[in-house]
């Protein structure tokens, strides 16, 4: 949305975590413009369906390209963008329902391929846009409009899932720490391979977790978010796995490995000569 657009009729609710994510994304894109001298048109933001995905219309200032597609399909759409135009900077923005429920099937294949895109997941542990149903990251027992007697499934640990599936850059962040988040997104975009920045982005209407995340000393609430220590070895996969055993929500860069080449560098067939029609016909000549 390049200027105030009177037709566009969606706004986030006051306090929504997604505001911070937008700001952080803007900052990281601006940094690319300055540091890498990359025009904004080189970036494509592929958005999922949810309050979160509406980010693509709410970006302020210079406008990247965008695709606002189908619920759950931002990742394979980004695969199409990236593999047809490897020189583009491709960012996916998605919600926890979008990415981890209906879109879950797409994470594994891209991780195995090491697709060179950066995904920003806005996790509010709830379906915001459809007004408050449970999501894969909702806690066991949580009461939502679709779990009036408490959620039956255990909550999914997305960071562990990413590690297992072989995602090569995994960061965990909070929407309220905009600078840190912008930095992680920037590094995720720079990472040669499949990068996921998983953001705790509270929904003030259906699942306000600000207090749980940061804690409240007065009320005696301990924070569930904690910073990954500086000495954590991000290139060590097992160290990443072990970190998760501490519970709660670690914040910072969990894992980053450049060992595996990216999909675009792997495609050997691109090094072969382009097929020639007459030669192809010759193989069918009688």
């Amino acid at each position: 949305m390049s200027k105030k657009n009177p037709e566009y009729d969606f706004k986030w609710c006051p306090g929504c975590g997604d505001f911070g994510v937008r700001r952080a994304l803007e900052q990281s894109l601006n940094k690319r413009i300055v540091d890498l001298e990359e025009p904004i048109e080189n970036t494509v933001v592929v958005a999922g369906i949810g309050c979160s995905g509406n980010l693509v219309h709410l970006l302020e200032g210079v406008q990247p390209y965008g695709i606002h597609g189908l619920h759950g399909r931002s990742l394979p759409i980004s695969f199409g963008v990236k593999m047809s135009r490897p020189e583009l900077n491709v960012v996916v923005v998605a919600g926890d329902g979008d990415f981890l429920s209906i879109g879950m099937e797409h994470i594994g294949p891209q991780a195995q391929r090491n697709l060179n895109v950066c995904v920003v997941v806005m996790d509010n542990a709830v379906y915001g846009l459809t007004k408050g149903q449970s999501s894969p990251t909702s806690d066991l027992g949580m009461i939502t409009s679709s779990t009036p007697y408490g959620k039956i499934e255990t909550g999914l640990n997305p960071l562990r899932l990413y590690l297992t599936l072989g995602v090569s850059f995994i960061a965990s962040a909070m929407s309220s720490k905009i600078k840190d988040l912008a930095d992680l997104i920037y590094r995720g975009m720079e990472h040669p391979g499949f990068a996921i920045v998983h953001v705790q982005s509270p929904c003030t209407v259906y699942n306000d977790t600000y207090e749980v995340l940061k804690g409240n000393a007065k009320k005696g609430i301990a924070p569930i978010a904690w910073n990954i220590p500086d000495d954590h070895d991000v290139t060590n996969w097992q160290a990443g796995v072990n970190l998760l055993d501490n519970g709660g929500i670690p914040i910072g860069l969990l894992y980053s490995s450049k060992e595996r080449v990216t999909l675009d560098d792997k495609i050997q067939s691109e090094k072969l000569p382009v097929p020639d029609m007459e030669k192809l016909f010759n193989t069918y000549q009688v």
Partner: protein, 563 residues
């Protein structure tokens, strides 16, 4: 009078190796200047199982594989029992007398292929004995096959020096035995070599080649019969800088990957069959509303659901036309011959680029497994379209006019959002009533750019036309020819451009009293669409999983004409 064509079927167990001999036979005849069409069916199991292949050889361009067999070559009892019913009354059964006995009273020739073959010194020459006998039965000069043998095994460094003479010897042994039998199915006219180069290929290969010529540079697909061979072909051949081909994890991944690629400027394509096509429903709707050029090949098999994976049917028309919820009506092109598979694919890309949206190429199992000789296309005469690309500066309203507008490509000026929700000029979501009206009109008005489809028509005065579609073109045409020869007053019309129909054809059809539509489905899918367009169309349907036999179709048409 000499014969102008004959039909031979080879039937046995998968893995018996007769398929390549049969293919060689067709190819040898094509080289000699005959026209040929083959058709093979494979069992769903992978190894063994009843397999057969049929070749029709003619001095003139042929439309179908032929209804009745002049020669049936069988390699086991089951094959004989299953296929003997299709033998012409003067047909001959040629069989491997080491594998089965034929006690019935009929024109039959049993030879010990294996034993005779081995006697030539080449342990694998059994099939050459068979071909020698076969050629003799149909009065085909042996030198056609000899030439084939020399080409196939002539490379001495690879095959040694003995194979060629041994195989030729085997041919002659077969010939001798056949001559002893004194059966013949009539002498075949000599071929007239076409002045055009010929290539021999099947429908899926023609589609793949067409795509390459049209400039495909992004192909993602998921295996599924009978479309898999397109994916496999692309994996091998769509190589080189700027080309991308990949096996997806599902059809949903394939179609949505295409959306990203088409958006980014690629000529993007996938191939699938019914079940995969159904899974693409939501993605196709997005291609339509976000105006992204894509080509989707649906090689139809029997439906519904998992259906009949190894049989043919024309029952995906309605879902190709309206694949998804909401107001969507996709362009549909359905080739009717192997040759048309090539040109239809180029047309599909051209349409996708022209109107900026998804185009469905509706092929079918019978075309994909049929080999046919076609004139080697003259590429210099084929137009390839490329989308109109936005090359301006600054801000741009990508969806502004009431028709197609230049498309910005990421990396250059013109950023916008390709949006699967209703949107304004730059692609931001909007719910304003007038926008939805404008944009809906825009999307449908773009279809008017696709009016360049060609069509065939003959004899329109009678008021009744036969209008087959897709793979039923061949049987439809032969039935029409036969009816005309028998003095029936009936017309012919045909197009591979099913939606939008060529406007002239549409008005021609509206003027007819009756339009008869032979099609391989229960619902009469194409005729119901024609009726909705105001045409008095009636279907002649069959849903056995097999193509129409010309004879059957002639009878069915006569019934309609006489009633």
């Amino acid at each position: 009078m000499k014969k102008k064509d004959f039909v031979v079927r080879f039937a046995g167990e998968g893995g018996q190796g007769f398929l390549s001999a049969a293919q060689g036979f067709a190819s040898a005849n094509t080289t000699a200047g005959y026209h040929s069409q083959t058709f093979a069916t494979f069992p769903s199991q992978i190894t063994g199982g009843p397999t057969w292949m049929q070749a029709r050889i003619a001095t003139y361009p042929i439309h179908t594989r032929g209804d009745e067999l002049d020669v049936l070559v069988v390699f086991n009892e089951e094959a004989f029992q299953n296929h003997k019913g299709e033998l012409h009354k003067n047909g001959v059964v040629l069989y491997d007398s080491e594998k089965l006995e034929v006690s019935e009273n009929m024109r039959k020739l049993g030879l010990p292929f294996e034993k005779l073959g081995k006697s030539t010194g080449n342990a694998r020459a059994a099939n050459m004995v068979m071909l020698g006998a076969l050629a003799t039965l149909v009065n085909l000069p042996l030198d056609i096959l000899e030439e084939f043998i020399r080409r196939r095994w002539g490379d001495v460094s690879r095959y040694g020096e003995t194979i060629v003479p041994a195989n030729i010897k085997a041919l002659e042994l077969g010939k001798e035995e056949a001559l002893k039998s004194s059966f013949s199915v009539g002498e075949l006219e000599l071929p007239t070599k076409s002045k055009h180069d010929q290539i021999l290929l099947n429908g899926n290969e023609a589609i793949a080649l067409g795509a390459i010529h049209a400039g495909v540079n992004f192909f993602v697909g998921y295996p599924i019969s009978p479309a898999t061979s397109i994916l496999v072909w692309m994996q091998k051949n769509l190589v080189g800088e700027g080309k991308f081909v990949y096996q997806a994890s599902s059809e949903i991944e394939a179609i949505t990957a295409l959306l990203g690629a088409g958006y980014s400027g690629a000529k993007a394509m996938t191939s699938t069959a019914g079940p995969g096509f159904s899974l693409m429903s939501e993605g196709l709707g997005m291609g339509w509303i976000a105006e992204i050029p894509l080509v989707i090949v649906d090689v139809q098999r029997g439906g519904p659901a998992t259906g009949l994976p190894t049989k043919t049917e024309q029952s995906d028309f309605l879902s190709a036309l309206n694949p998804a919820h909401g107001d969507v009506m996709l362009p549909v092109i359905a080739p009717g011959t192997v040759e048309e598979c090539f040109y239809a694919t180029i047309a599909a890309f051209n349409w996708a680029e022209t109107y900026q949206g998804p185009v469905i190429l509706l092929s079918e199992h019978s075309l994909s497994e049929r080999q046919q000789n076609i004139i080697r296309p003259d590429l210099s005469k084929i137009k390839v379209e490329n989308r109109n690309i936005f090359s301006g500066e600054g801000e741009y309203q990508r969806y502004q006019s009431d028709n197609v507008s230049p498309m910005p490509i990421p990396g250059s000026a013109g950023s916008y959002v390709a949006n699967a929700s209703e949107h304004d000029g730059v692609g931001d979501t909007t719910h304003l009533p007038h926008r939805h009206v404008e944009m809906t009109n825009r999307r449908f008005s773009k279809l008017s750019l696709l009016q360049d489809g060609s069509y065939e028509s003959e004899n329109l005065d009678s008021g009744t036309v036969i209008l087959p579609w897709g793979g039923s073109k061949g049987s439809g045409r032969e039935a029409y020819d036969r009816l005309i020869r028998e003095g029936y007053s009936v017309g012919w019309a045909y197009t591979m451009f099913l939606h939008p129909l060529p406007p002239d054809l549409l008005s021609v059809l509206k003027d007819q009293d009756l339009v008869l539509v032979p099609e391989l489905n229960y619902l009469g899918q194409f005729s119901s669409y024609l009726r909705a367009l105001g045409i008095n169309a009636h279907s002649i349907t069959q849903y056995t999983g097999l193509p129409f036999k010309v004879g059957d179709l002639v009878e069915m048409i006569k019934e309609k004409l006489d009633s």
